[in-house]
Amino acid sequence: MRTLKRITRGIPGLYLLLILLLMYLPIVVVVAYSFNAQPKGLMWTGFTTEWYPALFQNRQIMASFKNSLIVAGWSCLIAGVIGTLGAVALSRTKIRSAAALETVAMLPIMTPEIALAMAFLVTFSLVGLPSGMLALVLSHATFCIPYILIIVRTRLTGLNPSYEEAARDLGAGPVRAFITVIVPLIAPAILSGVLLAFAMSMDDVIISFFMAGPTSTTFPVYVFGKLKTDVPPTINAMCTVTLGVTFIAVAASQLLRSKGSNT
């Protein structure tokens, strides 16, 4: 009886472990195959690191990776500024249209990406904006804003208003109080939001697919194209690098948030 009870007690833990293993299985497989000697990566034939240098010699891959970084960088910068200012302003104003604005501003991450991609595609074609880097940055910044908005807004709700009041009482103007008091207090939240937005932008396939021009392919769009046609031997190394970048960004974002919520 006792052993039976001990066994059943272990079941929830085993279940947690099993699901977590399944969640990480495909990631582990991709990373493992990136060190596989056999180029097509079907059978395990031996350990090698040759695909990583090969990656850096492939000009197409490097160009698409560079494009991804540029797009993510600009979108995060734009979204970081607009999202932070918007979050601060929204937490102050009590006008009714602000609530409506907040809901509408969240739409880009609520609607499925393909609907958003279509909206950008038809609008940019209407105003004559060709597909390419600018279209990519505008569209990415739009879906990056909600992440920063939510995270900074959550942080501001938990913030003690007396910090700012003290600064104002001591004679700081609103702008100075904002820069010297509020921004340092919400900096971890801003950074956390920006990192998350960065990961989202680096990972995006669907919107980028419709926004990228012939010379401005982003990395995930390149990978998607290759997965459907010929899979190059370097693909696993390629995927491992992106996974690494997003993993670090997401984990850092999470750590910042759990640390930042203590003040």
Binding site: Y24, V81, L90, A199
Partner: protein
């Protein structure tokens, strides 16, 4: 000394967000709505001739079959993620705090990392000369490779896998908030484990269930690269159809009408969610 909030400064700070949202969210979506009532012309362009034709064409068998299939996939994916996710969130909420935080981090990281790359990982495992078939043949459990990929089941699997964290996170957030004293009270009053679960835990976590279902249902109609890669032509979803009309199909008004179907679906589920879980965030952030 209380100062009135600086109204002008507040509005000024709001302007960039307001303008950006107006120009890049409201206008584009409004334009898609308008386009869904326009007519496509022979030059792959769009004529400003009002018509309901695009919406009428939704019922064409070629569109309807995919719409229905997408709906079916969405319902099954939601059910599967709920069945797998609830026990997970439940077991997770019973762990020690340090363990809970670790599991949370482990669930969140794949939640935010590329679904495309993880789908590719499954393709590596499941294709006919992949790892899984090699293991099965090595164990003499099968003579020739089993075709795991390129059918409806593979699409359902891929969707369930990709969207499972979307279910677990809101479920866990509502389970974590559950007041344990309620459960103790019901146990003290003589209710069995199952009865306490059905009469207390389940109703109290319903908001989590609803938001989880919403977060799985809506994206599942749009994740067309999963059906593209794992289904290879079968198990197409609404997203495949829109992408077809935007690219090879060259019929933007039809794509716009289908987009509107998707947007309406999003609004409906958001409305349902607001009714059930008016409290706070989706539990995702």
């Amino acid at each position: 000394m209380r100062r009135k909030p600086n109204k002008k400064g507040g509005l000024l700070a709001l302007m960039p967000l307001y303008l950006w949202t107006l120009l890049l969210v409201v206008f584009p979506m409004g334009y898609v709505l308008v386009m869904s009532f326009m007519t496509k012309n022979d030059q792959f362009g769009v004529d400003f001739i009002l018509t309901l034709g695009n919406y009428i064409r939704l019922s064409d068998p070629s569109n309807m079959n995919i719409l229905l299939n997408s709906l079916k996939t969405a319902v099954f994916t939601t059910l599967l993620t709920l069945l797998l996710g609830y026990p997970f969130a439940f077991a997770m909420s019973k762990r020690k705090k340090s363990q809970r935080n670790l599991i949370m981090l482990l669930v969140i990281v794949p939640f935010w990392t590329s679904a495309l790359l993880r789908t590719y990982g499954w393709m590596l495992l499941m294709r006919s000369n992949g790892l899984l078939n090699n293991v099965l043949m090595g164990l003499h459990l099968t003579e020739k490779p089993i075709q795991f990929l390129y059918n409806n089941g593979a699409v359902l699997f891929g969707m369930t896998y990709s969207l499972l964290p979307f279910m677990i996170l809101p479920l866990y957030s509502s389970l974590e908030k559950l007041d344990n004293s309620l459960l103790e009270a019901s146990r003290d009053l003589g209710a069995g484990r199952l009865r306490s679960f059905l009469t207390i835990t389940l109703p109290m976590t319903l908001p989590g269930v609803v938001s989880g279902c919403m977060l799985v249902f809506v994206p599942s109609v749009g994740l067309y690269f999963i059906s593209d890669l794992m289904g290879g032509g079968s198990g197409m979803v609404l997203g495949n159809l829109i992408s077809y009309y935007l690219t090879t199909g060259r019929d933007w008004p039809m794509g716009a009408a289908l987009s509107m179907v998707m947007v309406v679906l999003t609004f409906l589920t958001m409305g349902v969610y607001r009714r059930f879980a008016s409290n706070d965030s989706l539990g995702v952030f």
